[in-house]
Symmetry: C2
Subunit: 359 residues, 2 copies
């Protein structure tokens, strides 16, 4: 919190009745102006959530954690949710071979996100290079930022694509879109490492006398090896496309807080605070504090062995993903209506076809 | 030509029968690959001309010179003409207060340009922030250029708007639009100081294996004080909105090649090579070489005094602008159809209303 200059979330939880397990358990731990935007809400005005996705790969369970939280916020506060899909970002930073590849993942990822049960009337997807007014908004904002600031915040080199220097402005336009188009103040749920983008958009907003977007900051969900989950480490990541055998193989390699020998575990007990399996219980599968406490105790006192926890996690994940695939198939029809621009039929039907065949 | 590394135009004139007074008289004096694009034309394939306008002010006669030449090319070669109106450029470089101001000048300037008699079926205007696919094209091109190159060519500072660093790519997308959308090779008529933009777009094209845009380079038309004509020096510039009394006032202050006293002029003769009035005869009003030669001789041998030439120029300009205003009014109806995107009704009708009232 000190490094990024953000506020602790704990002091404001009771005031706003923010009772979600991801907040209680410290996954969302910091904020900027969350109190301000909730005061606005409680004074009877609406706000919007902007929660983006960089479409360069399949969605994994780490991404879904944020969107599940967004869904909860949407239900609790009735907010409009805007989901920018930044094909341009992934292209200018060299993460996809072309914009069509990013567009394929955009529709694919949107389907995963939408299918968690977001309200189709209050959820708005757009692909960065496909939304006609976005470049105009970006140009409008650009005058309130200098190259020095962009360089200081993001640190560019000579070989940088000039599109990457412009991109922080485009991302600011993503975030300010509900403010520009509807006059809605914005809240952004975001992983803490992305806070520099929030600082940039808040600077721009202040200069333009627009509401400075509020943010709620999360930690990273850890991958199975204990490092932050990332699609570029597929062995330690659970994608929403996994089948049971691959889940099983991956989970059995998970980092835990237990002993190698069952004997030691029974004698000394494990350390759930180190264990990725326990973290996934805590963030995903055990929403009741009593259930979670029980697992924690059984681990610490040596009653429960890592193998048992892993088998439980495999079951949870398998059920979760089976259910997700079903919901994904059912969401296809409504997805198009949630896009703020015409969809590319060729690419969209490829995404749809994929679900028909293999899921 | 050495400084910019461009080719002399003279050696290729006869081969392609390029008989236009602005070429004969050295106003268009250099090129890149003009021979290549004309070879393509003579082999039976089409090409396109891209000739942009930065809409931050009224159009003056210096701008029109280029567009008159474009019209001649359109008639001679039957080419499609694309006219990007770079509202974004004028905004990111701080030349307009907002994008709406630039959009007003975009429609206003487009009307001036179109009314010279461009073919409505083969002329395509677009405003940079209004053409939906333009940002996508720009992002696609961006990967073929580095920040180092942009900095080396255009020399940015810390306080630069990051939009200005991205703009060379957007301008490349303007120029390559007919190639991207229609597969047409492109020719750009351009003032010599704009050649760095051509170098950038040619570099990008080479990397993407697209046809490298050809260019034909002009000098500047001089303003009445002998410096390059510029809208920011209104006293020495003739806008297309001038009336006779303001033309008279400005032209009487023109730099000439004559003597202060009529006596000296009659004795020693004048120097037409220094004279702005003569330059405007040469570029605009005396297309017959015999007529021009006659004025030159009468000046050199002291027969004709500067006052006479100025009075003639006032008459030419007054007639030209009166005629232009008439054609402008007549062109209003057809203008909308030449835009490649929806026009902003509010701003367009302001431009139209202006002509109804005051011209």
């Amino acid at each position: 919190m000190k490094e990024f200059g953000v506020e602790d979330i704990k002091p404001i939880l009771d005031r706003y009745n923010l009772d979600h397990h991801l907040i209680r358990r410290g996954f969302f731990f910091a904020h900027r102006d969350l109190d301000k935007i909730l005061d606005i809400y409680h004074s009877g005005r609406e706000f919007a959530i902007v929660s983006g996705r960089g479409p360069s790969n399949k969605v994994h369970i780490g991404h879904m954690l944020i969107f599940n939280f967004v869904k909860w916020m949407q239900e609790k506060f009735g907010v409009e949710v805007y989901i920018p899909l930044s094909d341009d970002e992934k292209y200018v930073f060299g993460k996809v071979k072309d914009l069509n590849e990013a567009e394929f993942f955009a529709y694919d990822n949107a389907l995963d996100i939408f299918s968690i049960g977001l309200n189709p009337k209050k959820t708005h997807f757009f692909i960065s290079t496909r939304y006609p007014a976005l470049y105009r908004y970006s140009v409008t904002l650009s005058r309130n930022l200098t190259f020095s600031t962009v360089r200081a915040v993001f640190g560019f080199k000579g070989e940088t694509n000039p599109g990457a220097i412009f991109y922080p402005i485009v991302q600011s336009a993503h975030i300010l879109l509900p403010t520009i188009e509807k006059g809605l103040p914005v809240l952004v749920p975001i992983a803490i490492d992305q806070d520099p983008y929030i600082r940039v958009v808040r600077d721009i907003s202040a200069k333009m006398e627009l509401f400075k977007p509020a943010a709620i900051h999360s930690k990273f969900l850890r991958g199975l090896d204990g490092r932050p989950m990332s699609a570029s480490n597929p062995k330690t990541t659970i994608f929403l496309t996994e089948d049971e055998s691959s889940i099983r193989k991956k989970v059995w390699n998970a980092l835990t807080g237990g002993w190698k020998r069952a004997k030691d575990q029974r004698k000394y007990g494990g350390k759930p605070e180190l264990c990725v399996v326990f973290e996934w219980f805590s963030t995903y599968f055990l929403k009741s504090d009593d259930d979670l406490k029980k697992v924690e105790m059984e681990c610490r006192n040596g009653e429960k062995l890592c193998g048992q926890c892993k088998e439980e996690l495999i079951d949870y994940l398998t059920d979760y993903i089976r259910e997700h695939k079903r919901k994904r198939r059912e969401s296809i029809k409504e997805l198009r209506g949630t896009f703020m621009h015409e969809v590319n039929e060729e690419i969209m039907s490829k995404v749809e076809g994929m679900d028909d065949e293999s899921r």
